[in-house]
Subunit: 104 residues, 2 copies
DNA sequence: CCGATAACTCTACACATGTAGCGATAATCG
DNA sequence: CGATTATCGCTACATGTGTAGAGTTATCGG
C-alpha cells in the first residue's frame, strides 16, 4: 500500500533552504553543508523530492578534475508545499487532534 | 640549484605499472590501487613525471556526477627510462661505487 | 665528509556524487 | 489499540581528482 508520510524535520530543513531563494539552483554538497546533512541522507531526500515533482533537477558540467554538479530547485508544487508547511506550523496551537499532510 | 634525484621506489612502482602495457591510458585512482599509493602521494608523482616529459596526459570526459579522469601514459623517453632502470638493476651487483641516474 | 636545501613522500583535507544495507519510525487496516 | 510493513534516515563505503603543509631524504658544493 502507498503511504503518505508527513515531511520529516530533515526534509523540512532542505525545503526551507531551497525556499530561501527559490529561483536559485542549488547542489547537494552545498545544501548538505547548510542544512547539516551527510550525503547519504541528503541525496536520497533530494531524489525523492524530485520524484514527487517538488524539485526540478539539472546538471552543471563542472570543470575538469571535479565532478559535475547535480542542481536542484523548487517547482511551483514545491513552493506550495513549503507554504502549506508554514501554515500548519501556525495552526499547530489548537488541539485539533493530529491532522497531517494531505495529498493535493 | 637544480638537483637530480634517482627515482624513488614509489616512482619506480608507478613506472613499472605503466610500462606493463605502454599503449594503455591509465588514470590515478586505478593506478593508486594497483601500486598502493594514496592520492596525495600518487598525483604529485604523476604530475612531476609528466613535467619531465616521461608521461603524456589527457582528459577523459567522465559521466555526470563523477569527475573527469586524468589519463597518463609513458612517452618514449619514459619507456627508455624504465629500460634504463632495469639495466641498472642487473648492474647493481658489481661494486661500482654508487652510480646514479644520469640525465639523458 | 658535511651541511644547506631542493626534492620528495605522506597525512589530512576539500570537493562532489551516489549506493547498500540496517535499524528506526510511522501510516494504515483490522 | 496494536501489528504490519512501507518509507525513511544514517553509517559506511566507493569513485575520482587534487592541494596544503609537515616532515624526511639525499644531492651537490665546498
Amino acid at each position: 500500500m502507498k503511504r503518505n508520510r508527513s515531511p520529516s524535520p530533515q526534509v523540512v530543513r532542505v525545503m526551507h533552504a531551497l525556499a530561501a531563494e527559490p529561483s536559485r539552483w542549488r547542489y547537494g554538497y552545498d545544501l548538505g553543508a547548510e542544512v547539516d546533512l551527510k550525503s547519504g541522507s541528503l541525496y536520497p531526500i533530494l531524489v525523492r523530492l524530485a520524484d514527487r515533482g517538488l524539485l526540478e533537477a539539472t546538471w552543471e558540467p563542472g570543470p575538469p578534475g571535479k565532478p559535475a554538479r547535480h542542481l536542484y530547485r523548487l517547482t511551483a508544487a514545491g513552493l506550495d508545499q513549503v507554504a502549506q508547511l508554514a501554515t500548519e506550523a501556525v495552526a499547530q496551537r489548537p488541539p485539533v487532534p493530529h491532522r497531517r499532510w494531505k495529498e493535493a
